[in-house]
């Protein structure tokens, strides 16, 4: 279904986002993509929708080598792949129904058929009652569901989800994950980029770990150890930074006391001088 062949992506700044990646994702698979920030997860997903081209290598989706895909075929490719973006990318001046209708409008679908499809998909993701609301009126979980609905509106073969549980509480995260699992059960290939260890470890799905643009691990049954995920690394970093900061503060407090003593000595000396002057005047 998806094949990366020695894919390398270098940005104009010289930063290497992906380095010599070779992997295959089969049809109907559920794959977690993990790694710390800057590991290359988003680049991996953006390459799949031809939002950018790799510097080197080939990416094959179905029968298409998308690196050689002519520009006028890109819309067709994007109809085959649904994407839930990390920042959702919902249009704030349109209602949820209009947001979901947008890709259908682009494909010239008959208005009534499109409306029917929108209501079907909103029912599937469980936010049909919010169809006429604007994105600002919805909670984080509901917005995530709306983004998923839009990604699914064409009934894509592949669903890419970039940190779909990133800003959600645990309960909502599980609900979203359940929804993605249901979608996967219908035969859709799901690739989900995440930081969430708990989810990865409990689902036991294939997990591809990226680090500095390279595939560090490709576990067929997930069970990601805490130390491998970016989240844990960043937590460790944060803890270390916090302890360093604490020790600096305590050092400061230690060094502060002699300074305080010095100032109190100066003050008492001045007071003595002033009292001496007063006595002389008398």
């Amino acid at each position: 279904m998806i094949r990366f062949e020695n894919v390398t992506k270098k940005y104009g700044t010289g930063a290497v986002a992906l380095s010599d990646i070779t992997l295959t994702i089969d049809k109907g698979e559920f794959v977690f993509l993990v790694g710390s920030s800057g590991a290359g997860k988003t680049t991996f997903l953006r390459l799949l929708i031809r939002d950018m081209l790799p510097t080197d290598g080939a990416i094959v989706i179905g029968d298409w080598d998308i690196t050689k895909l002519p520009n006028n075929k890109i819309p067709q490719l994007r109809r085959k792949i649904g994407v839930v973006f990390q920042d959702l990318k919902l249009l704030t001046d349109r209602t949820i129904a209009e947001n979901i209708m947008l890709p259908l409008e682009m494909s010239n679908m008959d208005k009534n058929t499109a409306k029917q499809r929108v209501s079907e998909i909103l029912t599937q993701v469980g936010i049909i009652e919010h169809a006429l609301k604007f994105p600002v009126q919805l909670s984080g979980g509901e917005l995530q569901r709306a983004a998923i609905a839009r990604a699914l509106v064409f009934g894509p073969e592949i669903l890419l989800a970039d940190e779909p549980t990133g800003n959600l509480d645990i309960t909502t995260s599980w609900e979203i994950l359940k929804l993605l699992q249901e979608i996967n059960k219908t035969g859709t290939t799901v690739v989900m980029a995440t930081h969430n260890n708990e989810i990865i470890n409990s689902l036991l799905k294939r997990t591809i770990t990226l680090d500095k643009g390279k595939v560090m691990k490709d576990d067929k049954k997930g069970n990601e150890s805490k130390a491998d995920t970016g989240e844990e690394k960043s937590k460790e970093k944060k803890e270390k930074a916090a302890s360093d900061a604490q020790s600096e503060v305590s050092d400061d407090s230690v060094s502060e006391s002699p300074a305080k003593e010095e100032t109190s000595e100066v003050v008492s000396k001045k007071q003595e001088e002033e009292s001496e002057k007063k006595e002389e005047k008398k």
């Binding site: 929708i49 939002d51 520009n71 006028n72 890109i74 819309p75 067709q76 994007r78 109809r79 994407v83 973006f85 990318k89 249009l91 947008l102 890709p103 409008e105 682009m106 494909s107 010239n108 008959d110 208005k111 839009r150 064409f154």
Partner: protein, 305 residues
């Protein structure tokens, strides 16, 4: 049958697509009305000036053609010249093949014309008889350039005492018309350029404002032309609206000034026929569409890579 229904489906799809694009373009206009007004105002100015200059050029062309169609040369005969002598000269002039019309005006006819002109002034009529008015030959040519050679023939004739023809009026009128045309062309050119620049800037601003939305649409499988067409329609809309109102204002000014212009010219220059006016509107709308498409295409090329 299958092919027919497929064709019908395609037509329906196209129509639907056009409606979606038109609605999007209309939304762009509604959501930033001041920018839309700026674009429309500059186009109104352009087409107002185009209309006015067209009226002036059309009017002056009619004045020239009026003078050209009038008997250009009048040759006044000497006292002793008879009708037969005059006929010889008329035949000589007609033989050149340049004559549209020639007419002998006898002393009696000249008196009648004189009496008609001054019928309200009995004092002027009292002392004038047919004896003091000379007979004349009035000649008009097909081409105004031929007047000089015809007048030369008449002047050289021993029967003719004096000739008159308003060549100076026509030549100065022709000069004025060509100057007006040049000034008009320059002014219209500058205004059209202004309109293009302003439309490019305004549509460019709108594209920049919608950059995020456009990015999202592209990621959601929008084709390039799905994104470009609303901006093209927007340019066309500004063009057509500007052309229509520019024409309405210019025609209003023309109709308002018609009584004054009629008495000023004293010749049938006005009223300009409605057919001409609507023809002008049609031509202006066509030019407006071209301007709109050109400007929005420039903006799209510049800002939507």
């Amino acid at each position: 049958m299958l092919a027919k229904s497929r064709k019908k489906n395609q037509k329906r799809k196209k129509k639907r697509n056009n409606m979606v694009i038109f609605n999007t373009a209309w939304k762009h206009v509604r959501r930033s009305p001041y920018q839309a007004l700026a674009a429309i105002f500059i186009l109104i100015q352009t087409f107002f000036v185009i209309s006015l200059f067209t009226f002036v050029i059309f009017g002056s062309a009619r004045v020239i053609s009026y003078f050209e169609s009038q008997p250009r040369v009048s040759a006044f005969f000497k006292e002793e010249i008879t009708r037969e002598d005059a006929l010889v000269l008329e035949e000589e002039v007609n033989a050149t093949g340049k004559i549209a019309e020639s007419k002998y005006v006898s002393k009696e006819e000249a008196l009648q014309i004189y009496q008609n002109i001054f019928k309200d002034d009995p004092l002027l009529l009292e002392f004038v008889t047919s004896d003091i008015l000379p007979a004349s030959l009035e000649v008009s040519t097909y081409e105004i350039e031929d007047l000089a050679s015809i007048s030369e023939i008449l002047r050289k004739s021993p029967f003719v005492q004096e000739i008159t023809y308003p060549q100076d009026i026509v030549s100065s009128l022709t000069k004025w018309t060509s100057a007006i045309r040049k000034v008009g062309a320059v002014l219209i050119g500058v205004l059209a350029l202004d309109s293009v620049f302003i439309m490019v800037i305004i549509i460019g601003i709108k594209i920049s404002q919608k950059r995020e939305e456009i990015e999202i649409m592209k990621l959601l499988s929008a084709t390039n032309w799905y994104i470009r067409w609303p901006f093209m329609y927007e340019g066309i809309f500004y063009g057509i609206t500007g052309a229509f109102f520019g024409w309405v204002f210019a025609t209003g000014v023309l109709l308002y000034a018609t009584p004054f212009l009629k008495s000023f010219f004293g010749i049938p220059v006005i009223p300009i026929s409605p057919l001409f006016l609507f023809g002008l509107l049609g031509a202006e709308v066509l030019v407006a569409i071209i301007l709109g498409v050109f400007s929005s295409f420039l903006a799209v090329l510049r800002y939507l890579k």
